[in-house]
Amino acid sequence: MTPAAQRSDPLLEMRAITRDFPGVRALDGVTFSARRGEVHALVGENGAGKSTLIKVLSGVYPHGQYGGTIVLDGREQRFGGVRDAERAGIAVIHQELALVKQLSVAENVFLGAERLRAPGVLDWTAMRAQATLVLERVGLRVHPMTLVGELGIGAQQLVEIARALARDARLLVLDEPTAALTESETDTLLALINGLRERGVTAIYISHRLHEVRRIADRITVLRDGRTVCTESVADMPEERIIHNMVGRELAHMYPHRERVAGEVVLDVANWTVRDPADGRVAVRDVSFSVRRGEILGIAGLMGAGRSELVMSISGAWGRRQAGALQLAGQPIHVHGPREAIACGIALVTEDRRRFGLVPDMDVKQNTTLASLRRISRRGVLDHAAETRLARGFVDEMHTRVASLEQPVRTLSGGNQQKVLIARGLMTEPRVLFLDEPTRGIDVGARVEVYGILNDLVDRGVAVVMVSSELPEVLGMSDRVLVMHEGRLAAELSRTAADAATVMRYATGGKP
């Protein structure tokens, strides 16, 4: 740890930052500061203004588009664009990695800041040597000429950080850096951030994962509705208090589990084995389980355990089935694609909303009805009135916050987009609803609402299968828990038998 005196010295001060969008004030006098050599976490619900604040800081919104002042190292900064901010030593590591997969690690590290031998001529020797050094600093042991596309997500993240360091970044902004990482990759990353802190690098750490925030941060700033709620040292901010500040209300029951009795078996999966169509690897191996009417079945496991692959393949969305059979209410069914799955009463809400779920330019009602066009048409002609009526029903029931049913779905917050996609699944009147990471990237308030929706569904007799990487969520919401490890079913636990330690033991390949 660096001396406390140096710690208290502010590197960055953002004073009274205000930013307006047509009709909304996204930031309303936000104050934020980061001391030299600290990790400062920025938390808040989606829409609280975190990304907007970062965009102001990194020059995406140039000087003049916001109110207030940015002071870096005691000097006021007026960034005219991203490059100005970069030159001042601010580097943003985005949620979606900004790497060119077809280029090597060294080329990516120096992308836009290439070392040159002569004007326009690359100095490969220097770049390779410097890349090696900087890769060492981030603890990534790969050859600098490796193509980035061959690296895993965790390693790619490290390349991004290496890139920032190669540019002498003094202030690292990490936006949800662990969202796509496995546990061990997360540990590596957090250790790296710790190491950089000791060498004086300042980091702003944005994450929904509060336990990580508490592990890594020195101080925490909570934003809500475009305002700073508080900035406190991490010792004064237990998790409940962070949540309280984020939502502005007590979350009495974060996981509102309801007591219920499971009904008859709806879906039976036997000896399910699936290969990855891309590389032929066995992703799911000999998995058997059943889903009952009126229960939530949770599927836990680490990243890459085959959970998504399991639910995607059962819903006909992915994979090459090698062996296995499905029975729906005792009748054998054959699912060759999403269309057949939907017709059988199996609906899937995918993990990656933007890639697999939303049609961004379509409006709320069109996105809602997309999987059930037959229900709102006769002989191929759409009944707009019926479409509006049905879509409005879902919006009202789920309390989806939309300005209008004709609002493009891309303009909604993550939580509301997720509700639209759940509505799309429900509109197909499924008997089994699969949800893959249903609360990923959505804020705490919306999360609790999604849980309520799932409970209501179960009460109405739908069987819900939920894949989740968040252990508290799986344990809090499920009536039964399946644990997967390396493509296999490692354990099936009842609600009472499932506790965090047991689930983690099975998920990491441990024996009972």
Binding site: V359, A385, P408
Partner: protein, 391 residues
């Protein structure tokens, strides 16, 4: 409000068209806006417009069709050959040509949808191949329709050159009675549709413009349609080809907005993976799309041959670029998922107006091409800048 904003774009287009017309009216001392010229202009637009309203659906679906010009030329030549060499009548020749168009579309659709070859490549291949086949089928000679049996040739000419007949004997400069009736019916239908749509939106609790603004909007539309119709009514009447275009545009607009097929195309263009996971049969709808495009190209080919009264080896050359430009000027996004049939129609009119106006000004052909290119560039840039601003 979203809805109003979406529509505002189309009114901007119409406004842009009006501006172009006013500018040319001044630059040509009113020659541009003479009834005769406007009537000609619209007739000249028909083939491009028929292609454009088909191409816009292809673009909406996230694909492209570079072959429409060559297919237009080829199908036009097929139709001419059937009538000339085979001595077929108009009806069987036209029907056979439409089937040929359908088959060509199915060929494209097969490669794009089921063999996953990018549409750009599939249709680029066809653009070359059919340009060659035109030469093959015509023997490299212009096939004049006067070589066909005279009665059939005359009936064929109607499609591209004919005007609606009058009940009273036609006199120059006098009101063309049957066209007048069509115009009145169209305007009445327009007002009725707008009125019913407003009522339906109110009933479904969707946002509507304030009554006075909506009335003003419908009045504006009525004036535009009346102005167009007026030109026809006081000149030689409504050409059959224009009526055909209007019917086709109405039909495709209906397909795009009010059918499951149309909705699926927007979804496929907007996010193909999401469409697939929502249970949409992406390959089948893609095949259907290209078949529609094939038929539209064949219709354009027939109209073109009829209007020129001949099948030429150069028919439809560069027409794909005009059609794509028209669709894009009309607001279609080459990224897929966005675009309207009416937009493409207005876009085609913009392109044709530029052609016609610049020719009337005797502008050097060099500059005609350059200006058209620049206008396309600026139009798309303006549209993207607007979109970025609203995001």
């Amino acid at each position: 409000m979203q809805w109003a904003r979406g529509n505002a774009k189309q009114y901007t287009m119409i406004l842009a068209l009006a501006v172009i017309w006013v500018v040319f009216a001044f630059l040509t001392d009113g020659m541009f806006v003479s009834a005769r010229n406007i009537s000609n202009l619209i007739v000249q637009t028909v083939t491009t417009a028929i292609l454009a309203i088909g191409v816009v659906l292809v673009i909406v679906s996230g694909h492209i069709d570079l072959s429409v010009g060559s297919v237009l030329g080829f199908t036009g030549a097929v139709c001419a050959t059937l009538m000339i060499s085979q001595g077929w009548g108009v009806v069987p020749s036209v029907l056979a040509t439409l089937v040929v168009g359908l088959a060509i579309g199915a060929w494209h659709g097969f490669w794009v949808a089921y063999r996953k070859v990018p549409a750009f490549i599939v249709t680029l291949a066809s653009m070359l191949a059919f340009r060659g086949l035109i030469i093959g089928i015509t023997g490299g000679q212009t096939q004049g329709m006067e070589m066909a049996p005279p009665t059939e040739a005359e009936r064929f000419m109607w499609i591209g050159q004919g005007y609606q007949p009058t009940w009273r004997p036609a006199v120059d400069g006098q009101v063309h009675d049957s066209s007048m009736l069509v115009a009145v019916v169209v305007i009445a239908a327009l007002v009725l549709v707008q009125w019913r749509s407003r009522l339906a939106r109110l009933r479904n609790g969707l946002a509507v413009l304030p009554a006075w603004l909506d009335a003003l909007r419908v009045l504006g539309l009525t004036v535009v349609v009346a102005a167009f119709a007026g030109v026809m009514v006081f000149y030689q009447g409504l050409p059959w080809s224009v009526l055909l275009l209007l019917v086709l545009a109405g039909l495709l607009s209906f397909v795009a907005r009010d059918t499951t097929f149309g909705r699926r195309l927007y979804a496929i263009g907007g996010n193909p993976e999401a469409a697939r996971l929502a249970g949409i049969d992406v390959p089948r709808n893609t095949l259907g799309l290209f078949m529609v495009m094939g038929v539209m190209s064949a219709i354009a080919g027939i109209v073109c041959t009829s209007r020129l009264n001949a099948a030429t080896t150069s028919a439809g050359q560069n027409a794909e670029l005009d059609a794509i430009a028209a669709a894009v000027i009309g607001g279609a996004s080459l990224m897929g998922g966005e675009g309207t049939v009416l937009g493409a129609l207005v876009g085609a009119l913009v392109m044709a107006s530029l052609d016609n106006g610049m020719s009337l000004m005797n502008l050097d052909i060099t500059w005609q091409y350059v200006i058209k290119g620049l206008i396309l560039l600026i139009a798309v840039w303006a549209d993207m800048a607007r979109r970025r601003a609203t995001h």
